[in-house]
């Protein structure tokens, strides 16, 4: 291809903000993000980008790729999510892709995959696939495969070609059985098979070395859980069980077992001593056995919406049990007393309800200023001064570029957060500065802080702020973890003060 071809391709890429004006030659382009550009096609000269390794074409209107892309031999990561492909473009057969995402297209066949034996991560979810029979080469390198939300009714022959697969998502299809070929999944670690119509599971399934299994929302009526020596998590929610039995050799290291909405009349006791989470909500269980004491590592127990009247005394002795859901049971006073003694951190019976997250009103300002005392008590840079804080909160309330939210329990303000608009030269636009996130001590650990921060982020998105930022006391470990867990990342900047007299 000629220099003028490069000049026109470059001009096109620059016009889409995909490369810098300074880019000298096609070989300099290694990564391209062309997502969300309403593209209906790519220029035929695209194959000039022979050093391209990562290409994001998600959220466009593409239905084909140019043949010239065969020359993109370095391309290893291709994202074609949410386009209009009805078949996998033949050109991918000649590439050495490691990762391919074609989720959310209209694929009716995936035959081109047979030639793609280098792919390790493949996402074909949310398409219109009816079969994958013969789609994969026998000696493929697939490690992660997602074919959820298609119309697949039989994967028996597919399992036989997935000997290397470690993570497999086949949920949301029309599968009626997991046949003997499931035993071919020798490397499998995680299986998501929920929301199918699976009624039959072959014996071979119970020999797998899998660690997590989701079989929820299927049509399982009779099942004996056995083997599965490496299993740590099992989800069986919303199956219409008539018989569900557990053999003594079942999953000795099981940590999480969920069987919500399965019509269970009995509280099942998996043999694992390592159980941490046990969920039996929306069943017809009447009795919780004393033997629950064997689960010394249990930290969450969900018995919501059953027919339990009594709770065993042993429950109070489960030291790690900190989350308990028991609403919707005809609990006796004795059972309620046991919960009171146990006093779990999270319990739906004692959870504070009716707390509303709302925009602050003028009459809230005095309570908000008082709340800051809780915050300043842990922030060593500040000393609480009610008059100053009331003045500050009032000025913020009156400032048109600010948002003040409160958590209200009746007439009481029990939490608050503020955000003010700033201009960032780095972001080239408005950003939001978050301050004063505080929740009254007696209302902590009930999710109010999360609700305040979620709502303020929602407002920031609605207002088009490019970024939100905040400062937290470096000695406040709880706050640092709180923000990190909610997707905030720490910067390398430190905050300096210079006080005017």
């Amino acid at each position: 291809m000629s220099t003028s071809d490069w000049e026109s391709l470059k001009a096109w890429l620059v016009s889409l903000d995909a490369i810098a004006e300074e880019t000298q030659k096609p070989e300099d382009v290694r990564r391209l993000d062309l997502s969300g550009k309403a593209l209906e096609s790519l220029p035929e000269t695209f194959g000039m980008l022979t050093q391209l390794a990562v290409l994001n074409l998600a959220h466009n209107a593409l239905s084909s790729l140019p043949d010239s892309m065969r020359a993109c031999e370095m391309l290893s990561n291709l994202d074609l999510r949410r386009n209009q492909f009805e078949a996998l473009p033949a050109v991918i057969a000649g590439l050495s892709l490691r990762s391919l995402n074609v989720s959310g297209n209209q694929l009716k066949n995936a035959d081109a995959l047979r030639e793609c034996d280098t792919i390790r991560v493949l996402d074909l979810s949310s398409n219109a696939l009816v079969t994958l029979s013969g789609a994969f080469a026998q000696d493929n390198e697939l490690r992660t495969l997602n074919v959820s939300c298609n119309y697949l009714s039989d994967l028996d022959s597919v399992f036989e070609s997935l000997a290397n697969a470690e993570r497999l998502n086949i949920s949301g299809n029309a599968l009626k059985a997991l046949g003997a070929s499931v035993g071919s999944l020798e490397a499998l670690e995680a299986l998501e098979a929920g929301e199918n119509q699976i009624a039959v599971i072959d014996e071979a399934f119970f020999s797998l070395e899998v660690e997590t299994i989701d079989l929820s929302s299927n049509q399982l009526r009779h099942l004996t859980l056995q083997g599965l020596e490496s299993l740590e998590e099992l989800m069986l929610d919303n199956n219409p069980f008539e018989t569900l039995e557990i053999a003594e050799d079942f999953a000795p290291y099981l940590r999480e077992f969920s069987c919500d909405g399965c019509g269970l009349k009995q509280f099942l006791l998996p043999p694992s001593r390592f159980l941490e989470v046990l969920c039996y909500s929306s069943n017809a269980i009447e009795e919780v056995p004393e033997a629950i004491a064997r689960y010394e590592k249990l930290r969450e127990l969900d018995l919501e919406d059953n027919a339990v009247r009594e709770l065993p005394d042993a429950l109070a002795n489960l030291l790690l049990l900190q989350t308990l859901y028991v609403e919707g049971n005809p609990l006796s006073d004795k059972a309620k007393k046991i919960i009171e003694i146990k006093h779990p951190e999270i319990c739906d019976l004692t959870m504070k309800r009716g707390i509303v997250i709302d925009e602050a009103k003028a009459e809230d300002l005095e309570q908000m200023a008082s709340l800051l005392e809780f915050l300043f008590a842990i922030e060593s840079d500040f000393t609480f001064d009610y008059k100053k804080q009331l003045n500050g909160i009032t000025r913020l309330f009156e400032y048109e570029g600010s948002d003040l939210l409160v958590a209200r329990d009746g007439d009481n303000v029990v939490g608050m957060v503020t955000m003010q608009r700033l201009v960032s030269s780095a972001a080239g636009d408005f950003i939001g500065q978050i301050e004063d996130l505080v929740v009254m001590e007696t209302y902590r650990k009930s999710g109010i802080g999360s609700r305040l921060i979620n709502k303020i982020r929602f407002i920031a998105q609605e207002k088009g702020y490019k970024r939100i930022q905040l400062a937290a006391d470096i000695n406040n470990d709880y706050a640092l973890q709180f923000y990190t867990r909610r997707g905030f990342s720490r910067t390398h900047l430190a905050i300096f003060h210079f006080k005017n007299a």
Partner: protein
């Protein structure tokens, strides 16, 4: 492609008859984990709208809503129900 306002008015859950906007409101007003929060929207144990709801729940947790993604998931559910009803699977 629908506007943001149109997507907010779309029905995300048939059982609970909730719109996208109502589901967001419910998720913003609860601290419960997804499994419990979902029931507040659906008022049932079924999982037909799970894909869109779990995405919306995650978006709420991270404060960034991709309304086009939600629209695509709702349309996918409707198409799936149509095809399943027609026995086209």
């Amino acid at each position: 492609m629908a506007t943001q306002e149109e997507i907010l008015e779309m029905e995300i859950c048939e059982c609970g008859e909730k719109s996208v906007a109502q589901a967001i409101e419910i998720f913003q007003n609860t601290a419960l984990p997804f499994k419990k929060a979902k029931k507040l929207v659906t008022e049932c144990n079924k999982t037909c709208c799970r894909a869109a709801l779990i995405k919306l729940f995650d978006m709420n947790q991270f404060g960034q809503f991709d309304y086009d993604e939600i629209e695509a998931l709702i349309e996918k559910r409707i198409e799936r129900m149509r095809r399943m009803a027609e026995g086209d699977s």
